[in-house]
């Protein structure tokens, strides 16, 4: 085996991020009180430079590290998206952490390592690389949830998350080992060739796929593997919920594409039906249970579950348009959920968590501008045009209609009507109720600008969705 230096250039962004993660770790260790500020600044710098590095290397593709790591258009776009999403996430969460004595350097170290894990997942060309990235990402997130050590509810959430997460990783690994047993390979490309050639024991193959789908379903939060999600979303500090809700879903989507589409695309027959179950159940349970929630974090958790159901729709269609639609949905979902949790942070302050729906009463009188921003985000999540959430739903449903799965499309549109109800309730509370508290919103200017930019992006992308749609379509050539 020869070790070629030139190959490593393909993984330059990850290597840069790894190096910077170590630098941040050292900075936190040696700078003491100043460490947190330095860690925050360095993290943002790292994410920005990584995004630039990826942008500059667009178009270069290839396999490296002995075929375990791939750089292609798909990975470039998603990795850039992950970096950009996390820049906004760190900005939001810093406001929250500073107001609560949680502003510590470790948060940023964990966040950067977790981001590195996501990037490795996205670029995986080998089952083990996927597992490596997944565990790096997840372990950091378990620790982040538990960061607020004195909070009973956060500790409980972290414990739940860790145990169920470990179980799911075990399932995934088991599934991979069965696939290895039946195909004799762990490289995604080779597995795909072997499956395409046929002649495998289909019972064993489908048995392995079951476990892979369970692992993916858990990491995404699809019903019936969603139990952890509402508890973790509610229990974790909002800054961490925000982190968990946004970029990891994009990474989980990438994992699904790598494993199911690239690795087992010819075994679609087996995973399609399973995904239909997951998707339909997620849409139904997510939307119906969200109606009953009074805690907005929990409501957004169930709303996430329903959005995951929609993301899976595109995969079910099994067409390049469908995969592009799913990818579009995953990116749009991250943008919207970031804004949603960002609004919770904006309305919260020292000693007060704005996590009950009633805390939004009369927001339009207290602050018309942020009420309007929240209105945009909620209508977008409900899938009402002309906001970007509509096109996300449109594209996935279109991909389902194009493969003649009309009955599933009917379930999807009916569920989006049910879903509209609880988003409307937030708007009702903000616009039609009288305010109970009159304190002015206190948030630093960067936070205010970011949340406005976030919501306005949802609106502007909704009016001109063409370029983002074209970008997603270009990643999956026909």
């Amino acid at each position: 085996m020869t070790f070629e230096v030139s190959n490593m250039v393909l993984a330059l962004p990850e290597m840069f991020m790894l190096a910077m993660a170590c630098v941040i770790l050292l900075a936190v260790a040696f700078l003491g009180k100043q460490g947190a500020n330095a860690a925050y600044g360095l993290s943002q710098l790292t994410l920005a430079i990584t995004a630039i590095l990826i942008y500059q290397s667009l178009g270069e593709t290839g396999l490296t590290f002995d075929g375990t790591y791939v750089k292609d258009a798909f990975s470039d776009v998603l990795k850039m998206a992950i970096c950009l999403i996390n820049i906004a996430v760190l900005l939001y969460s810093t406001t929250y952490l500073k107001a609560r004595d949680l502003f510590k350097g470790e948060y940023y170290v964990l966040a950067i390592f977790s981001t590195l894990g996501m990037m490795i997942m996205v670029s995986a060309a080998h089952f083990l690389t996927i597992y490596l990235g997944l565990e790096l990402m997840s372990l950091c997130m378990y620790a982040m949830v538990a960061m607020h050590r004195d909070s009973f509810i956060a500790t409980e959430a972290a414990m739940k998350y860790f145990i169920l997460g470990a179980l799911a990783s075990g399932m995934l690994l088991y599934g991979m080992s069965i696939i290895y047993g039946v195909t004799g390979n762990l490289s995604i490309a080779t597995v795909a060739e072997v499956v395409q050639a046929g002649g495998l024991d289909n019972t064993v193959l489908s048995f392995g796929i079951v476990f892979l789908v369970i692992g993916i379903g858990f990491k995404m939060g699809a019903v019936p593997f969603h139990m952890w999600l509402p508890d973790v979303y509610q229990g974790a500090p909002t800054a961490v919920t925000l982190f968990i809700a946004a970029a990891p879903k994009v990474a989980a989507f990438a994992m699904a594409i790598r494993l199911l589409v690239e690795g087992l695309g010819d075994a679609q027959l087996y995973w399609q039906d399973m995904l239909i179950m997951l998707s339909v159940l997620s849409m139904i349970i997510g939307n119906v249970v969200a109606i009953a929630q009074t805690n907005i974090k929990r409501m957004l958790a169930y709303s996430t579950i329903s959005h995951i159901g929609f993301i899976l729709l595109g995969l079910i269609s099994g067409s390049p348009e469908g995969y592009a639609a799913s990818m579009f949905y995953a990116l749009v979902y991250s943008l919207m959920s970031m804004g949603g949790f960002g609004m919770i942070i904006l309305l919260s302050r020292q000693g007060f968590e704005a996590d009950n729906i009633d805390d939004y009463k009369g927001l339009s009188k207290r602050n018309p501008w942020y009420a309007l921003m929240m209105l945009i985000l909620m209508f977008s999540m409900a899938g009402i045009p002309p906001l970007i959430g509509f096109y996300a739903k449109l594209t996935v449903i279109k991909s389902i209609v194009d493969v003649n799965l009309i009955s599933i499309a009917i379930v999807a549109v009916l569920m989006s009507v049910i879903g509209a109800f609880y988003y409307l309730r937030i708007i009702k509370v903000m616009y039609f109720d009288t305010p109970e508290q009159h304190q002015a919103l206190e948030a630093p200017i960067d936070m205010r600008l970011m949340i406005s930019a976030n919501a306005l992006a949802v609106l502007m992308l909704g009016i001109f969705p063409g370029s983002l749609l074209a970008l997603c379509a270009s990643v999956f050539p026909l």
């Binding site: 009402i384 002309p386 509509f390 549109v413 063409g466």
Partner: protein, 503 residues
Amino acid sequence: MFTDLPLLSLLIWLPVFGGIAVLVNGDNNPWARPLALLISVATLLLSIGLYIGFDNATAQMQFTEQASWISAFDINYSLGVDGFSMPLIILTAFSTVIVVIAGWEVIQDRVSQYMAAFLIMAGLMIAVFSALDAILFYVFFEAMLIPLFLVIGIWGGPNRVYATIKFFLYTLFGSVFLLLALLYLHHVSGSFSILDFHKVGLSMQEQIYLFLAFLIAFAVKVPMWPVHTWLPDAHVEAPTGGSVILAAITLKIGGYGFLRFALPITPDASMALDWLIISLSLTAVVYIGFVALVQSDLKKLIAYSSIAHMGFVTLGLFIVFRIFANSATGSGAELAIEGAMVQMISHGFIAAAMFLCVGVLYDRMHTREISAYGGVINTMPKFAGFAVFFAMANAGLPGTSGFVGEFMVILAAFQANFWFAFLAATTLILGAAYTLWMVKRVLFGDVANDDVAKLTDINRREFLMLAVLAVIVLAIGIWPAPVTDVMHATVEHLLTQISQSKL
């Protein structure tokens, strides 16, 4: 000269951006009202340009505009009008002016938001009528729910939250099926252009499903019995302006949807299921007429009367198949479609006027209960004059626009089936009964109580808006040709489309 301008784009975006300008001006700005009036009048003038430049002789789309919007899916910003959409656009622009004037003094809370909501809504509704791309249509079709949802919820009556959420979910429920139908049509035809949808061949089974999807979407909007229950709630709780726009325009989008989508895209299914629409329409005319009779709330009464009147629209649109079946020449079919169109336009004016009259009373007395009134004519003679006139028009008195549409549809219904015409004609009795009985209880008689005795007659602003509406109602009633002339060619084109089987 008008054909050189992108007139439709101007008509859509002037009110939208004007509304945003009003909004950013802030609530305490004294210029919010005049600015809103200026924008709405400018929009109305532009829409009259549409009428002047319109070519009556052709059924082709006119004032067309085309630009690529979402190239990845071949979705275009494609606009155009024909004889169906052009009058409705003018109606929209006109109603918006009326709404701005009606809210001038009444609305004191968040004025600029109120005006902005109606201006933006006007732009979106004009866009619905002029969109020739299915997704563009759908985007505007849904987007217009947002301002109306807020208008009812913020400025509405005591039970406004229930009413507005019911309204939103009902219409959203209908429209998601429209979206599925449009996506399926794209799947079959490979294009999102509505005009391409008109040409695509479809099997009977496909047509039936598509037709049912259209039916759910547009029946909720019209609204047809039995999916009408959101309308009385929404009307009762909405502020006067909201009621006017609901009655004058949003209901018409349902009728327009049948004309633009259901009839030309699924003609065979429309023919096979015409019994369904005809029976639902006649139920609306007769049964809802009786329901209107027993209402004790003024707005509810007018809301039910709207449902009954819209029953004529759907009846007119679907009896054409029976007329074709009875005679090869199809004489009377044109009358039916044109009658339905005239009924839509006329109802736009009359229902708006009726709701404005109720608004005038409500602003003074803060009640809509019929029993709270009596003898209003003694204290408000000028108002009573207008109210009686509009009530007569609502009952279909010859010489008013309310008569023209109903008469055309009933006349056409005779060509289809005597009993259809018979049942439809009961509206002449029922409509007169519930409207005139209401007039008697509210306006005539002795002064009922001290509150009525203290009433002051309408001021110049209220006189102006009611007078303009009265003139239009009378004008269309006496000389409907300017309205019907513009749609002749389009109606003929539609009739050839629906008489050709797509199987």
